[in-house]
């Protein structure tokens, strides 16, 4: 792909990505009101997945990272491995806002910054990927998915990762896999070398420094965000929306209370 082609495709991507982000905000609004039907969770996941795939192909590293982490969080949410909570919704809204800012900067040909460490840490945690810095350096700057085995397999097959988003070869051919024996052979080839590489990396890595629990400041920020929404609805004088927002405020408050109780009982 030459520079002109890349520029043209980037323009298409940015226009499509903006539409996806608009759609995400509308869908997230439903989540904020406590609706977590499977369809909407799948749709939100697909939105982040599409952003991730496009950004990765176009080598937009910062956007790739944020979209990928968000996609991983949504995948866990839609498969019910984690439960929907106001703080989680707030986190996903924050990630979507960060993506929106990145897109805006790309459209204006400005430098795109990496997502803030605090947001990245919370996304990593929600994505089930609390990893230490040394492991992150070892594996490249892109966040690793929960399926690190496969990622490492790609690295091993490629003879090493050349960058955060490049050099991941095709995984496999599957036509030859239709018998159980051949499928087992595939799995052996996929996972055995990977496991050994993962083990090796983990053994060489220092003890993990876990991402910390949410800070009270995060929760207060969340509360302020809800408060601001309430102020906006008050201007519209729509009782129904106000009631829903108040219900959400109640959920956030309960979340804060539970968090405080947990930490107080833990001797904090």
């Amino acid at each position: 792909m030459d520079a002109n082609e890349h520029e043209g495709i980037l323009a298409i991507f940015l226009a499509e990505a903006e539409d996806i982000v608009k759609g995400l905000f509308a869908q997230l609004e439903e989540l904020q009101y406590g609706y977590d039907g499977q369809r909407i969770l799948d749709d939100i996941h697909r939105g982040f997945h599409t952003l991730y795939g496009g950004a990765a192909v176009l080598e937009l590293v910062e956007l790739t990272e944020c979209a990928r982490l968000s996609e991983r969080v949504m995948d866990r949410l839609r498969t019910r491995r984690i439960a929907l909570s106001p703080s989680l919704v707030s986190l996903i809204v924050g990630a979507t806002s960060a993506i929106e800012v990145m897109l805006s900067r790309l459209i204006n040909h400005q430098t795109v910054n990496r997502i803030p460490d605090e947001l990245r840490g919370r996304l990593l945690k929600a994505a089930g990927q609390a990893i230490d810095e040394s492991k992150a350096k070892l594996e490249g700057s892109a966040p690793r998915s929960g399926d690190a085995l496969l990622d490492v397999f790609f690295d091993a097959a490629a003879g090493g990762r050349s960058s955060a988003v490049n050099a991941r070869p095709a995984a496999t051919s599957g036509r030859a896999l239709q018998s159980d024996a051949k499928l087992n052979t595939l799995l052996d080839s996929l996972y055995s070398p990977a496991t050994s590489v993962v083990d090796k990396k983990l053994k060489s890595a220092p003890a993990a420094a876990r991402v910390s629990e949410p800070q009270i400041s995060d929760l207060v920020s969340e509360l302020a965000w809800v408060r601001n929404r309430l102020m906006g609805f008050r201007a519209e004088s729509e009782g129904d929306k106000l009631n829903k927002a108040l219900a959400y405020l109640d959920l956030v408050t309960q979340d804060m209370e539970r968090w405080l109780q947990r930490h107080q009982s833990g001797g904090q």
Partner: protein, 155 residues
């Protein structure tokens, strides 16, 4: 959404010693259906395939659009995304494999999803190749060649 372009002149004169697909005089003449809901990725895929010399490319924006195209036109290869709104790539693959008129068509999944369970599900459903985004033209070419040059049953 089919918008197959006229075959690239060089494709028909391409002297390719590799085995072409059925009805194709050379590997570059194969007809490819790209199934992808994201227009950016359809464009990227088309450009990459064009750069590689493949000119007979049609597009569908999800599995439900692809299926009637597969029944009404001849295709040698389907390249599909996994996650799409109406009918995803895995469902499309299963339908193709269950249809006696279509099951011979090689299917390549190109997705950002590298999850173990997705790859396994695709393998069990009979996928022919699985490429994880981001990918390069060389990867794509390598997989296409692998599909058409090492398995004579597809010819």
């Amino acid at each position: 959404m089919s918008d197959e372009r006229s075959p690239d002149p060089f494709a028909s004169t391409d002297v390719d010693s590799d085995s072409p697909a059925r009805g194709a005089s050379s590997l570059r003449d194969i007809r490819i259906l790209v199934v992808e809901d994201f227009a950016t990725m359809r464009r990227v895929m088309r450009n990459l395939l064009n750069d590689l010399g493949y000119a007979r490319i049609s597009e569908a924006d999800d599995g439900s659009v692809a299926l009637p195209m597969l029944h009404n036109q001849h295709f040698d290869l389907v390249i599909t995304d996994l996650l799409m709104p109406e009918m995803g790539g895995l469902e499309l693959l299963r339908v193709i494999r269950a249809d006696s008129a279509l099951r011979h068509i090689p299917v390549m999944i190109v997705t950002a999803d590298a999850q173990r369970e997705k790859i396994l599900a695709a393998a069990q459903a009979g996928v022919d190749a699985y490429i994880v985004k981001p990918f390069t033209a060389a990867m794509l070419e390598s997989k296409i060649r692998e599909l058409f040059c090492t398995n004579t049953s597809k010819i």
